[in-house]
């Protein structure tokens, strides 16, 4: 049944990604606000994962993303580990929104297909 779970999650992933991209384009067709939308996206993701972490912590539930410990205290090591990642997040999502506000979603993703196939596997 792990296969079925994978298929269901995959289908949900596809649908959510398609919805996110088309709604973003819909927003940009009404107002050109890439920076604001990216800001709000980060807000939604942080609030959503904070709620998930708190709920998982209360019920001691270790899902696919773990979380039984709830929200970890922000220590130096924790922040140091994730700060660089957040820089990349900002850059990547900003450029993505800027692109989506100007060209079609299909083109954006065709370009992404071309370049994201270069993910590194050297150790």
């Amino acid at each position: 049944m792990a296969n079925l779970l994978f298929c269901v999650l995959c289908a949900l992933w596809y649908l959510s990604s398609a919805s996110a991209n088309t709604s973003a384009k819909g927003i940009f067709m009404r107002a050109t606000c890439p920076y604001s939308l990216t800001l709000l996206q980060f807000l939604f993701v942080s609030v959503g994962s904070a709620i998930s972490a708190i709920v998982c912590g209360i019920y001691k539930f270790n899902g696919a993303l773990g979380g039984a410990d709830g929200i970890k205290r922000p220590s130096r090591a924790v922040i140091a580990n994730t700060f660089v990642l957040s820089l990349f997040q900002v850059g990547g999502h900003i450029f993505s929104s800027l692109a989506t506000s100007r060209i079609r979603v299909a083109t954006v993703h065709t370009i992404k297909v071309r370049y994201l196939s270069h993910t590194i596997t050297n150790y």
């Binding site: 994978f6 920076y35 604001s36 939308l37 980060f42 997040q89 450029f95 993505s96 993910t119």
Partner: protein
């Protein structure tokens, strides 16, 4: 190994040729975002490895990592947004908003629209679930399976967006898209073959990994939070 790349690039160029005429800057931004996400994947892998070697007090699970990276991204983003589009927030005051040339409609008129707010909430929630699901699937399957899955995801997104917005697609672009995905598929297959050989060699040579099962090395290779 290089033939798939050539097919890929040519395919993408065909697709972009129509859009580039109108908006070259958009194409450049898309390429920029892709490059940044590639760089992120390289760095994220090192961070994940370092993270799994930490004391359990400092070790972050994926949900916490998502939480911290996105909240810090939010904080970093605040000054950037204020600089570029700070005037948008003035809609919440009763002050008159002068239409800015950067906005296609006056901000007040747009934000007052109920549908617009709904769209923003919808975008935020689906974006969050996209991240969550991507992370979950990343941990569930091998990198190769994950990359094939994300390839199909992009096909799905391209088709859905073309149908939804009823965008006119020229034959050139259809050929371009088909070429892109053929090239990518061939590239993935070639890489998987090389990966398998490399991994076998790697495990047999390095003393600290002798006797380690491959599950421990299941470090996410791809697609941290890109949409």
């Amino acid at each position: 190994m290089y033939l798939p790349l050539v097919i890929l690039t040519f395919g993408v160029m065909l697709v972009c040729s129509l859009d580039a005429r109108g908006n070259l800057l958009g194409i450049i931004f898309a390429i920029g975002s892709a490059i940044i996400f590639v760089a992120q994947n390289i760095v994220a892998k090192k961070i994940f490895i370092r993270n799994s070697e930490q004391k359990s007090k400092n070790r972050l699970d994926k949900l916490n990592m998502l939480l911290y990276s996105s909240s810090m991204a939010f904080i970093i983003m605040i000054p950037i947004q204020l600089y570029h589009e700070g005037f948008i927030w003035s809609v919440f005051s009763s002050a008159q908003v002068t239409p800015n040339i950067n906005l296609s409609h006056s901000a007040a008129a747009v934000v007052a629209d109920h549908q617009f707010l709904q769209l923003i909430v919808y975008n935020g929630t689906t974006h969050f679930f996209q991240n969550l699901l991507a992370f979950a699937l990343l941990g569930m399957v091998s990198p190769v399976t994950y990359s094939i899955a994300s390839l199909f995801k992009r096909i799905f997104i391209i088709i859905v967006s073309l149908l939804w917005f009823r965008s006119p697609v020229t034959t050139t672009q259809v050929i371009g898209i088909a070429l892109t995905f053929t090239g990518l598929y061939l590239y993935d297959k070639a890489k998987a073959k090389i990966d398998k050989a490399d991994q076998a060699l790697y495990f047999s040579l390095l003393p600290q990994y002798r006797g380690t099962d491959s599950k421990r090395m299941n470090v996410p290779l791809r697609s941290f939070d890109e949409n």
